[in-house]
Structures are given as C-alpha cells and as structure tokens.
Amino acid sequence: ISNAWKTTPIKWYPIPALLGAIVLVGIQARRNYVADRQGRGKIVDENGKVVTMSGPWTVYVLGALPLNTISRIWGWANNLTLPVWFRPFGFRLYSRIFGCNLDEMKDEDLTHYRSLGEFFYRELKDNARPIADAPLVSPADGKVLHCGSIQGRRVEQVKGVTYSLDALLGLTSDPQGIETSAKPDSDSDHQITDDRQFANVNGIEYSLERLIGDERAGSQIPRGWTKLVSYRWWKSWVRSENKTGIPAGGKGKHDSIRDAHETDDEDAGVPTPDTPEMIGKYANVAYEMGSGALPPILQRHSPGHEGIGSGNKLFFCVIYLAPGDYHRFHSPTSWVVERRRHFRGELYSVSPYVASRLPNLFVLNERVALLGRWRHGFFSMIPVGATNVGSIRINFDKALRTNVRQQRRLAGTYSEASYSLASKLLGGQPLQSGEEMGGFLLG
C-alpha cells in the first residue's frame, strides 16, 4: 500500500465548466424551490395567497440564474463606446439579424451612435408612426400576446395562463412591506396658464377637452382643483345625499385639510372621510351615480379601483416588444397619470416561449405601474422589464431608477410616487394620445 501510494502517478483532469455551472445552477434552483415552498415571497393575489414561481424544471433553472446581475452586466457592456469604424458594420449586422428598419431612424448616420445601447434606444423620424384617431392606440411596436376583458380580477398572460390583477398593480400587498417614497418630480410642477390650457415642460400647451376627451372638462372641472375643493365636493355630496349611518371620524389624516380651510359651523354633522375603506366605499357609490370624474382624494383611496362605472368593464392588452423593435413607448390614449408604483423583482425573459411556461411572469418581474384615469374611468399602463432590457425610463419621472443593485429586496413591495403636482388642475401628469412617455434600455 505504501509503495502504491508513493509510486502511483496522480493525473488531474479539469471538470468541464459546463458541468460545474449545471451543478451550481441546480443547487440554486433547489434553494429557490424550497424558499418558494416556504412562502418567503410576499407577493399576494386577490385571495391573499402568496404568488410564487412555478412551472417545469427549466423554469427553476432559469430562476436560479442571477438574472438581475446578468442584466446589469449586459447593460454595462452595451454602453461601451464602440470604435467609429466598427459602428456601421456592427449596427447593420444587428439590424439584419433582428429586422430593424434603418430608414425610419431620425439620425440615419450610424457613426453617431456610440454604443449598441444608444442604437437600441434610437428615435424615429417625425411622423414615422402616424397616430390613429381612435380611443385606444398601440403604445409600442410589438406583437399582441393577448387581449380581452378581465374576469374575476385575473388577467390572462397567454391563453389559459392567468395572474392576479391585484398582485400586478399592488392592490393587496402586505402593508408592512410597502415602501412609500411619494416624491413627485419637482420639474413637473407645471403652471396653469389659462382656464382651459396648461403647459407641459416643453412649453407645449394642452387643451383640457382634448386631454380628458370629454366636453365636461371645460364646464364641470373647476378651475384650481385642489384638495380643498375635493374635500368641499365630498361634503356637498354627503349633504346632498343626506347620508346617514356614516360613522363620524376622529382626527384623521385629512383633517389638516379641513382645519386649514373650514369653519366649525360648516363642519356640523358632516363626517370626515378618515379611512381609505370609508372613502373608497363612497367613491364606488359616486361612480355608480355617474357623477363623472372623481376628485383625486377619493380616487387615491378607492380600494382596488373597484369603482367601475355602471355599464363598464375592465379590459387588458399585453404587447411584447422583440429585440429589434423600436423600444420607446408612447401614450396609448389621452389620460392623466396620477401615480406610479415601482415593483422591484426578477428579470425573467418575457418572450412568448417563457410567458407560456412561467405563470405569474408579469407579477414576478420588475415593472412600473402607471395608474391614472381616462374619459371612461380607471386606466393603467405597466411596462415590464426583462433580462436584456431591465431598465425602464419614464420621461416625466426623473426620480425613477430601475434595475439597480440592492442589498435587500422584499418581494411584493413597491415604491410609490405621486404626480399630483404635475398639474394641480387635473391631479396628475397629463398625456396625449401618441405622446412619447419613455422606453426600455438595454440592461
């Protein structure tokens, strides 16, 4: 034995890198699976049930990869400045592979794009995308994955695969986990220049009628719409309906509004909308009465946006942007964005292949939910990130930072910002149909 130990030659063989990677990914997949089974994630659906990743084994392998880190490295690599001589060749090759139309670019000189990231976020010529005269137009170039009406508060990702509307928009998140920043963009505090006109940051004036798309805008929306007006509207509505059985509230979060602007005799017998549940309850009633646009103070607290107007339904549409597509998105209608919710999450691929195999994909991925209203009521637009395009940019929200490295991330939490200062008249950021809103960046 001693002789064999001393004389037998030892020959080392390298373990194939692929085999090593597979083993590591397998271990991580197993850890993720166990964590999901234990309900560590806090994304919940409309029934309060924790939403976790599920699917075939390939999904767990995908989930084991450090997708957020890969996405950030991908973004860094694609923002490296390329040599000028290489740019036309490289970008033409990319265009040929992914089917980009170079003729519709605003700047056709390919040497002006310093990196693939800049080329990816290219602008199009003016009028390259005519905006149809329709209530709802496409916000982006892409493929319609699915569209239809929402049944039972669930949205269909692809045929037969659904996810919770509440989880998508953060309507039933764990209150302990909600991180509220509420930092409106100071640059968006536009000035109202006229009774029916107001200017955006570029000095372009909007017509109220066109923004709201409703003839009521000029007559029924009072000038200088403020929280004071909102509260007075609430009081007058309660008085006119002679509501009984409404519990008189104590010192609530909205009492500062009342204290600042009202006298005691005006308040006699008028309950204060203290709790979100109470406000939401009467917001729904007001919707049913067809009282038109609700004051922002009521809309904000309407639980789950359940105040669907009489004769209305909730609809949805999912549009997938392929790698070669124009990656800026535009407003799909004339509407007012009241707030945004930034959900940090994973960055799974959102290709139709993965979307059809990974339930809750759009709920698990990092996304920005823009919530507001249009002429028919509630309206929302949710850009969802992916591995190769993890960063989402919103033009009128300079504070938004997506796909950033974080030490600790609680699943199901979100940060929220209000755009109420963007236009005090409308209570949010107004957008016209076809107006550029932002886009997706590489990595």
């Binding site: 329709a134 170039d141 493929k143 004769g311 209305n312 549409c317 309206f379 949710i382």
Partner: protein
C-alpha cells in the same frame, strides 16, 4: 420587454387586434 394595459371602458369596447398580430405605435388597438 412587455407592456400591459389594464383599463376600464364601456362594455361596447372592442379590440380590433388579435393575439399574435404585429402592431406599431399609433395603430388602433380598440374602438367603442
């Protein structure tokens, strides 16, 4: 990347696009 639209509209609202159809910015998605 993907964009999801969720909105309230009258029951008469109807999508003019179909799943799998390619669309471009500004093209009609739905009408009332």
């Amino acid at each position: 990347s993907t964009i999801v639209l969720v909105f309230e509209a009258p029951e008469e609202f109807d999508f003019v696009c179909k799943p799998g159809q390619k669309v471009r910015v500004g093209e009609t998605l739905g009408d009332i």
